[in-house]
């Protein structure tokens, strides 16, 4: 059992495994997104209070959930890298950061274009929005810090410490709407009084969330493969790869 675990902790064995997994997650993301978009943009009815502006929820909430979840996963891999000094853990943490930044940007952007018609403003310095903006800066900070350090092993440690320090921001984002009096609403699921409408809206949102999961997994696996090529070029296992041998 233990032997199996550590087998895939090596880039040489994880690289082909990730390559086999990517098409499944990418196809799953595309199919789920098509179903979710159909429900969100066509099948779900217009909201009684917000009109069609509420349809932004089908990308806003999944992106916001992913932005926080990916940060926790990145911090987890960083902790594993700092604790066990395993190569794959640090590479996984490095691979998650850009996708996390993209999800955070989408959450902020779609929130702005939802806030304008419903609250009358694109932006407010309330606790939920400010802490989500700090999350974007944390992702960008981790990426910039890595680019600023030439030695990858030193970059792993520095980025790991930064990522772990920033994890304190996650509960602040999550509970901000309860701890402070925010413009951002507390609950995002019950938008309407009619239960039948709530069910189809919730279904669309959960399917879009699943699509975001599959997308993030596919993108992270694709990026970690590239990071392996960047960091282990010259290693025997990279030289024997078919995509390296054939131009």
């Amino acid at each position: 059992m233990n032997a199996n675990w550590f087998k895939f902790a090596s880039p040489a064995t994880f690289y082909p495994l990730a390559g086999r997994l990517i098409p499944w997650f990418a196809t799953g993301a595309a199919v789920l997104a098509l179903v979710g978009l159909y429900i969100g943009l066509i099948a779900a009815p217009t909201d009684a209070q917000q009109g069609d502006a509420y349809r932004i929820i089908f990308i806003h909430v999944p992106a916001a959930w992913m932005s926080m979840f990916l940060y926790v996963v990145m911090a987890g891999w960083s902790a594993a890298a700092l604790g066990f000094n395993t190569r794959l853990s640090a590479m996984m943490a490095q691979a998650i950061a850009p996708t996390g930044a993209v999800m955070t940007f989408i959450a902020l952007w779609t929130g702005a274009f939802w806030g304008r018609p419903t609250w009358g403003t694109y932006w407010a310095w309330d606790a939920r929005m400010t802490s989500e903006l700090i999350l974007l800066f944390l992702y960008l900070g981790v990426i910039a810090l890595r680019n600023a350090i030439d030695d990858p092993r030193r970059a792993d440690r520095a980025c790991g410490v930064l990522a772990l320090t920033g994890v304190v921001n996650i509960p602040i984002i999550y509970f901000s709407v309860y701890w402070w009096n925010t413009l951002h609403q507390g609950s995002s699921v019950s938008l309407t009084k009619a239960p039948a409408m709530a069910t189809i809206m919730l279904t669309g949102m959960l399917i879009m969330s699943l699509a975001a999961w599959f997308y993030a997994i596919a993108a992270t696996l694709a990026r970690v493969r590239t990071i392996m090529l960047e960091r282990e070029r010259g290693a025997g296992w990279v030289a024997t790869l078919r995509e390296v041998r054939t131009a």
């Binding site: 009109g51 993209v102 779609t110 993108a219 390296v244 131009a247």
Partner: protein
């Protein structure tokens, strides 16, 4: 069909949100592809037995 895009007057906000979100994902995916190509080209350069890479000076 035009009523679908109008979104009962919220079309600008809905499509600005969906359009830029889609654009962000497309940019990420193109970035992934070009980064992989660059990494593969570097890996071929690091291996003296590999065939030459088109368009990359050795």
């Amino acid at each position: 069909m035009s009523s679908f895009f109008a979104m009962n007057g919220y079309g600008f906000y809905v499509w600005s949100a969906y359009g830029v979100a889609a654009l962000a994902l497309v940019i990420e995916l193109f970035g992934l592809r070009s980064r992989r190509r660059a990494a593969l080209a570097e890996a071929r350069l690091a291996d003296p037995d590999a065939p030459p890479v088109p368009g990359v000076a050795v």
